[in-house]
């Protein structure tokens, strides 16, 4: 079954590549430059602050940059796979969603994963390189065990992120509002680019347990810095599965109210 999904995903991604190459080569260069420029200015922002402040919430410059690099990497990983959410509303409005429901593969798969942006694929390895560079700069050793733990955290955080994406498109099925909700989610997500302890106890707890944003950067960074006990990952794994189950339940509830009015 997984093989079928992988095959369809590869096919759809290849089509996106062809589309991009045929129609928007110039635009692609501008996009890549824009994304890299945005990352560079975020690094500059941290540098400007840390050059004078030296510490932010107990983290030094190289540690804060590592957190930002991790956030950027995991965020772009999500964008790479789940970009379909940005066009989901249109699919419901124009009736394309009916075809997703008729398809033998899951309608969730088509709704979220059927629109991979090739530019995110191109930037995947430079972003990974930046994470490794930032990790080395912190002075903390890159060990196999910490690498494996990081990989595990990425999987857990992606499950939580997936749950939130399912929840948002469920709202889209019910109320036809996706675009601003996902942008609001992205605005909140940006809070994860900095150590979550700066948002106060309440903010930290919300970003850690309700949303996956602490898991996207602060927690994996703390693990590398020896400030996070890996045993807690069992709790986060359970939480992510709980969130996924709740979002799937809400998705199925929302599908029951889908009237296929556009077809």
């Amino acid at each position: 079954m997984l093989k079928a999904y992988a095959k369809v995903w590869l096919k759809l991604t290849a089509q996106q590549f062809q589309n991009q190459v045929a129609n928007a080569r110039g635009a692609a260069i501008l996009f890549i430059f824009g994304k890299l420029f945005r990352l560079a200015t975020a690094f500059l922002f941290i540098w400007v602050i840390m050059e004078r402040a030296k510490l932010i919430a107990g983290y030094n410059l190289s540690q804060a940059i590592f957190i930002l690099a991790l956030f950027n990497f995991i965020s772009s990983l999500t964008q790479l796979f789940m970009r379909g959410i940005y066009i989901f509303r249109q699919k419901v409005v124009d009736g394309t969603f009916d075809f997703y429901l008729l398809n033998p593969l899951s309608e969730l798969f088509y709704s979220l994963f059927s629109y991979t942006d090739p530019l995110d694929l191109i930037l995947f390895f430079p972003y990974l390189g930046i994470v490794i560079w930032a990790w080395v700069a912190t002075g903390f050793p890159i060990t196999l065990i910490s690498f494996l733990f990081l990989f595990l955290i990425i999987i857990i955080s992606e499950i939580m992120i997936l749950s939130w994406h399912i929840f948002i498109i469920s709202i889209g099925v019910r109320y036809l509002e996706v675009d601003n909700t996902i942008m609001l989610y992205r605005d909140l997500e940006r809070m994860g680019a900095f150590p979550v302890s700066i948002y106060g106890k309440l903010g930290e707890n919300i970003l850690t347990y309700a949303f996956p944003f602490a898991l996207m950067a602060t927690i994996p960074a703390n693990l590398v810095f020896g400030l996070f006990n890996p045993w807690y990952l069992f709790g986060f794994a359970a939480l992510s599965i709980l969130q996924l189950k709740i979002s799937l339940w809400y998705w199925h509830r929302s599908l029951l109210s889908y009237s296929s009015a556009s077809s």
Binding site: A27, F31, F37, A57, T181, M183, M191, F194, Y199
Partner: protein, 262 residues
């Protein structure tokens, strides 16, 4: 004049048609303020200052950028590229309007909408976060700041006309706009005050039109810009240059407009 008042009213009605959309948009504007607020609080709430900015000064700056962003950068002219590509531009072209006035009036309606919401949002932010804010009492600085904001509104309008007009020659208007947005986020001083950068960088950025959108009006309001007069003059110069350029680009572009899709 009546037709422009009608246009203004209709644009406001359009905005209020999609209420959930509108509310979510305004909620997002509050979040724009939150991240820098918490970062600067973590760094400066214990006292002291960075680059000459105390916590109160940086909060005033941030608060000011949040307000100015809505006022200066609230715009309907950003739809221009889409209107050209979809052929929707044909309709206003056939109406008895000056097309530049048409877009500018729509921009003003958007700004009024943003401004009205700020009367709710500002007290809300003040009530929840208690940011220390400096209120300017010197009438000269206030007058200069208002003049600077008016120039910024014109400047942003012309930038949008120029970038929107790219659609006369290319279907890819989103990519240049994305790049413009990213550059503006940094070069307008929205992320942090530009005088925190090394002097050479500041000088380079001040040669571009972007800092005159947010940074210069805010520094003028705060009364901390030692070169206020020069910066206002440069701002005026940019308005004239971009005004001419926007007109030139539009005249060239409109000749190649094919009303495709209509």
């Amino acid at each position: 004049m009546n037709k422009y008042i009608s246009l203004f009213t209709i644009t406001l009605q359009e905005i209020f048609t999609y209420r959930l959309n509108m509310i979510m948009w305004r909620v997002r504007q509050i979040f724009v303020f939150l991240i820098p607020f918490f970062i600067w609080r973590a760094v400066l709430s214990g006292g002291g200052n960075i680059y000459g900015y105390s916590f109160a000064a940086i909060m005033t700056y941030l608060f000011g950028t949040t307000i100015l962003r809505s006022l200066v950068m609230g715009s309907r002219t950003i739809d221009l590229g889409w209107m050209i590509n979809s052929g929707a531009l044909t309709i206003p072209l056939m109406r008895p309007f000056n097309i530049f006035s048409f877009f500018f009036i729509r921009d003003l309606a958007d700004k009024l909408f943003n401004l009205s919401f700020m009367f709710i949002e500002i007290p809300l932010i003040l009530f929840i976060f208690h940011p220390p804010v400096f209120l300017q009492s010197n009438p000269l600085y206030l007058a200069l700041a208002i003049f600077s904001i008016l120039l910024a509104i014109m400047l942003y309008y012309y930038i949008n006309v120029i970038f929107g007009s790219l659609a006369f020659w290319s279907r890819d208007v989103w990519a240049p706009r994305f790049l413009l947005m990213v550059i503006m986020e940094f070069a307008t001083g929205a992320m942090f005050p530009l005088d925190m950068l090394p002097v050479v960088w500041q000088k380079i950025i001040l040669f571009t039109p972007f800092p005159y959108l947010l940074y210069v009006p805010l520094k003028t309001y705060l009364g901390t810009d030692p070169n206020t007069n020069i910066h206002l003059l440069v701002s005026l110069l940019w308005v004239i240059i971009l005004g001419f350029f926007a007109n030139f680009v539009w005249q060239k572009g409109i000749k190649s407009y094919e009303a495709e899709g209509r």
